[in-house]
């Protein structure tokens, strides 16, 4: 049983984090049409900032979740500045310039973190009460993994509720479908862009905070994360949150299982799944043709 359950839990944990990152990325693409290369850097910044507040100061469970939240808010504010001072000036430019602008921001954040925290790996130890395992079907599973899965589910539910049952969600969907029309109906589209960008960055930073206790913190960790998130977004169909969810679970679990049985394939599964799916459906699983 443990040869099935352990990779499954690992895969779902990976999927939960990936979904949070990819959901923001795909939301931003769907509404703003921006391929945000800096997205992974905000994840990385979320990890570092949580570590900065937490380690040696408030090493309790409450402290951990409080600072994941506080860091995410601070980073969302940085995202706000980025949208207002950089992206807003470029919406009419070629997609290629947008890629470069967000890549420039990736470099700035990575360089800044390296200058401040150095380039050697740092870690955030889990508080003792979280650093245990619980028994499911006689197999001990790390408690924190289960917690990440639960939080992932909660975020998924909140996003679904926001998109389908609130005014904001309706406006976001309308803007994603037709910007000009939404604008002429009296919606302040530029303000909406800012709101969507802030939500996306908040999700990325939040995922980064959750990720922090499970990985070694390195300034260049965002780079790998953003590619994986892109794979999820593209496989799911650009701009589609439900697609991102399906893709995150599919890819996360497949990667975990294959990596468990054929360790040399860890990380490669991502791209193989992507290549196969895109060859069959070039627009992604739930993307529009």
């Amino acid at each position: 049983m443990d040869v099935v359950l352990l990779p499954l839990v690992n895969g779902l944990t990976q999927a939960a984090v990936l979904f949070m990152i990819a959901a923001g990325l795909t939301l931003i693409y769907g509404v703003l049409h921006v391929i945000n290369f800096a997205h992974g850097s905000f994840v990385m910044l979320g990890s570092y900032l949580t570590m900065f507040f937490f380690v040696g100061k408030f090493e309790t469970v409450t402290g951990l979740f409080l600072f994941i939240f506080v860091s995410s808010i601070i980073i969302a504010l940085i995202g706000w500045a980025m949208e207002v001072f950089v992206l807003r000036k470029m919406y009419k430019a070629d997609e290629f310039y947008m890629v470069l602008a967000t890549y420039a921001i990736l470099l700035m954040i990575e360089g800044g973190v390296e200058k401040y925290w150095g380039s050697s790996p740092l870690s955030l130890p889990l508080p003792a009460s979280l650093n245990t395992t619980i028994s499911i079907l006689g197999i001990s599973v790390p408690l924190f993994s289960i917690l990440i899965c639960v939080i992932g589910l909660a975020v998924m539910f909140l996003l679904w509720y926001m998109m389908n049952h609130t005014n904001l969600g309706k406006i976001i969907r309308a803007a994603a479908a037709d910007q000009t029309m939404t604008n002429s109906l009296g919606v302040n589209v530029p303000a909406l862009f800012t709101v969507v960008f802030i939500i996306g960055i908040f999700l990325a930073a939040f995922a980064g905070g959750l990720l922090a206790p499970t990985v070694a913190l390195l300034p260049n960790m965002g780079v790998n994360i953003v590619i994986q998130a892109f794979v999820v977004v593209v496989v799911g169909g650009l701009g589609n949150i439900n697609g991102a969810l399906i893709a995150a679970v599919l890819i996360g679990v497949l990667d975990s299982f294959l990596g468990f049985y054929v360790p040399v394939l860890t990380g490669i599964t991502f791209y193989i799944v992507m290549a196969i799916i895109l060859m069959i459906r070039p627009q992604g699983l739930l993307g529009k043709a």
Binding site: G111, K115, F270, L278
Partner: protein
Amino acid sequence: MRKTKLLLIFIFLLFFVAPFVMNNAFTFRLSGLLILILFAASFQFIARTAGMFSLGHAAFYGIGAYTSALLIQKGYSIFLAILLAGVTAFIISQIIGYLCLKSTGIYFAMLTLSLAQVVYLIIYRTSALGGQDGIPGILAKPLNIFGWELDISRPENYYFVILFTVILSIAILYYLTNSSLGHFLRSIRENSVRTSSLGIHVKRYQMVAFGISGFFGGVAGSLLSPLEGIITPETLAWTQSALPLIIVLIGGINSFWGPVVGAFTFEIFHLITLNSGAANMYLGIILLVTVLVFPSGVIGVSKQLTSLIKKSMRSKNTGKAEELKGVG
């Protein structure tokens, strides 16, 4: 046009005499710069001429570097190693191109990025290729030119191999860009549907363009391994794929000479920020300012400046003429 030719000959002469006048450390840097120019030029061929934004160009660069490293270790001569490295990169480019050319635009960019990442991970995990540590101790065999031996394991002599290869490659790329192939590719970039309705096999031309670009990307990489003496998987990391993009943008995306000017500018910035401890941060700031303020790059800005100066000179002259008239 004659002025441009004279300028090119002058620049070539500068490159040629540089190792005789400057010290070896400078020659080594210049070698790296020449490789960077070719890498960026090979990227620009698909990006500008064919309008295909590949984000996985480091795969070809790295495959070229690994191929030449292996061949040189086996005792092959340098030019054969360079040629075969180009051919290997060409073959891989045809596989990647076949998989990616089903999609367009940003999907194409993401697919090339991912497949390049697959190549990176495969090389990273192949112990026969040294895995994470790469292949060290790559020493090129002395070059035999009509009985005269040149010890190209020394960087100051190897420089001439690089100079020759890069100039030949750029000349070929220049010729191809302005050939009928280049015109077909530009028309595909502008409107692929209309071009295909003219009876042109769009995908075949795109594959050819991707192959040419891959070939010269491989050639650029193949030059790198004997220069550095060691090759690691980092040559294929995806940040490396962003390098030609940055260089071409800084130089000027709309000019054939963008890669050359861009590589120079990039290298100067790189030298200035090298010891700051956060080179990436400054590179990011430079890139952001370029994108926001000078999207046409150094060449675009200098063109604007010269036309501005010319205009002001002209208005000055006419001003004088009017003054003279007034006196008369």
